[in-house]
Symmetry: C2
Subunit: 415 residues, 2 copies
């Protein structure tokens, strides 16, 4: 894509009220627009990143049997009243809205209730199990404060997978499969090394659950890590009982700040009991369906990547989620050699490489600054100087020093 056509512009300064690093960089780079605290629109570059993250998540969900659906924002109160979660005293961050003609609707912050109700039409026998619906869908939470940029939104993109199985044992097996899929996702989007499957309290349905925590000083959570034992514990849930249950007595832990990028909950039969989702087992006996839920904050994940991988010059996108693979920066605009840059652009695109082509008629300093801010993995610079040498200047966003390469060497490196 020609950068002169891209309708967004970079900004020298972030909005004054934007305190989080991830949102400052994403706004300055033209990835997102802040509509209000915790509510961000995705601009073309930001949507490209989000689509790439979503594609990786879909692949991993499909690989473990997930079937994608798209549930609605608007929620009828009935199934939520059955589980007790309609009450604003129980769930204190509902957005609710009045339906013309009477009645109040909710804006979904999760989808256990409507999915459990929906599956009553589809699950009758043990033969209809298991079912693993998932979605990548926009959720809403009426947060009193939202100051962490993309990391705590009032409106945010979420991947939520649900498991409907015959019994707790099967749910436990699937929990392990999802843990592996989740770690694959975090690896593939570039934060595998700093993300930990973390033991935490299971809430009301089970003794323990799994959180996925990414190390970051900007995180709202604190975890305890043993690199030795390859284990992490949510600090708030640390207890003698937990250490005993996981055979971790006497282990030394390091305390670190972290961002929760995913979680897994065993739900047992709470929702299926309340809403009446049962199946007939092999003996014809009615049994409640056993459930689990598995979340990844997709918008938060994008924010976490920016928060943890950026440097003082800007964003550093991993190749897997970068909006483009190559940033071709031409210093030949408005010279008689400008066609040389066009030719190189065409050659790269024809080789199947995603290129953002900076063909804007502005100064070299501004171009290089923008390239660092936008954070595309490979920068290719073409100028009078490189032309004279019969080369282009190739630089990885993560390296300080550029390399001089001829066109064939360049294509070879990139394809």
């Amino acid at each position: 894509m020609r950068q002169s056509n891209l309708f967004t512009k970079t900004r020298k300064e972030a909005p004054k009220d934007e305190v989080s690093k991830n949102a400052q960089l994403l706004v300055r780079g033209g990835f997102v627009n802040k509509e209000m605290a915790g509510v961000y629109s995705l601009l073309p570059l930001g949507l490209r990143v989000m689509d790439k993250i979503s594609k990786i998540i879909r692949e991993e969900m499909d690989a473990i049997g997930g079937q994608e659906v798209h549930m609605t924002v608007l929620q009828d109160s009935a199934p939520w009243e059955k589980t007790g979660r309609w009450d604003d005293k129980v769930v204190d961050d509902w957005f609710k809205t009045d339906l013309k003609g009477g009645g109040t609707l909710g804006m979904a912050f999760t989808h256990e209730e409507p999915l459990t109700k929906l599956l009553r039409n589809h699950i009758h026998s043990y033969k209809d199990l298991p079912a693993f619906p998932y979605q990548i869908q926009t959720k809403f939470r009426n947060e009193l404060r939202a100051k962490s940029g993309m990391m705590r939104g009032r409106e945010f993109l979420m991947k939520d997978l649900y498991s409907f199985m015959a019994n707790e044992k099967e749910t436990d097996e699937f929990h392990k499969k999802v843990t592996v899929a989740y770690m694959n996702i975090f690896k593939r989007v570039g934060i595998g090394d700093i993300t930990y499957a973390t033991i935490s309290s299971g809430g009301s349905f089970s003794k323990y659950s799994t959180e996925f925590q990414t190390l970051s000083e900007a995180g709202e959570d604190t975890i305890l890590i043993s690199e030795d034992k390859k284990v992490a514990i949510n600090k708030g849930d640390y207890s003698k009982t937990l250490l005993k249950d996981f055979n971790l007595e006497g282990v030394a832990f390091d305390e670190k700040k972290s961002i929760e990028v995913g979680d897994i909950y065993k739900l047992g039969t709470k929702y299926s009991d309340a809403i009446g989702l049962t199946y007939k087992d092999k003996d014809g006996k009615e049994q409640p369906v056993n459930m689990g839920s598995y979340g990844i904050g997709v918008g938060r994940l994008m924010g976490t990547i920016v928060e943890t991988l950026s440097d003082d010059k800007g964003i550093v996108w991993p190749e897997s989620v970068a909006p483009f693979r190559v940033h071709l920066v031409s210093l030949l605009v408005n010279t008689d050699k400008s066609k040389e840059a066009d030719k190189l652009y065409k050659k790269l695109v024809d080789s199947g490489i995603e290129v953002l082509y900076d063909d804007r008629n502005i100064g070299a300093g501004e171009k290089l600054g923008d390239a660092d801010l936008i954070g595309i993995p490979y920068r290719v610079l073409i100028s009078e100087k490189t032309l004279t040498a019969g080369k282009v200047e190739f630089k990885k966003r993560t390296n300080k020093e550029p390399q001089m390469l001829d066109e064939n060497e360049l294509i070879e490196k990139l394809v």
Copy 2:
């Protein structure tokens, strides 16, 4: 995909309160779930169709310079107050919701206001124009009644493109380009023959606008068609002046019911004036940006395809948007020949064909009924009988008579 794994089931009966044909068939086939009137979740088959329609729309929007964004549902009142559209007396189908800590937010039914505001950060000079942001995003309308299934939703997927240009002449030129792109879309999704670019009143910003109307007895609109002149007029906007303006005096028109699947509006400078979106022209003079908006109801389009192309047995998907290309129906399940069907399934998938494989252990009648209901374009039946003949039975959903083909002939037909 193996149908035995698909968590949704077909239904013999639609919900009693579902009066529209499109929703009856989509619910019965397991494409959508009705959450409440005008609010439908997409199940795996339905999401596949919606994704294919969306992909076609994206290709056509990208081809005319569209840049995809994703705006938010939650709306701050400020820009809407400037254009006068925040007032419930002016826009009577807002959903609104209260923000914890004070203030009221809207749920967007369109995005002129926030986009115009957003572009103030990015458009300063004539060099920054034009800009064509578009999105495929969920919109909300607080309809008093919603009885037309996917065709009039309270929550619905919409494609909305906006043009920001230097003057009205440029907007008019782009209007023509979008009209061509829209007709391409309607052709590609299978309703080109029955869809008309229709002259209608332009509302407050211009004398005329363009609607895209698809013939259907289920439509809420009425249009006047001249096949002779290849022209259509919205009946409500028919007038002597219009006939004169388009040189149509004395032309004979047929009256038909129709569904509005898309529309184009010239917005002039109403929004840019109110919100203050200007650019400096070549002489350094401040000018208001000239705008247009271009909508397609994506959910409504899916409903319209079902409404207009189905028959008494079920849905008839055009190949371009069908959830799968081939429905492989095995009558060999639980026989000693079941592996033959598995092999054929593998062979088709390995040839790059999208296949729904009915490997369910149910009767032949039910399988064939479901195949007609689900409406996949090509049905391939394998049974003891076809095996004996060394063939499979191949039937187009739109043909009455099947053909016997051997495997090579089959692959040749499909690849």
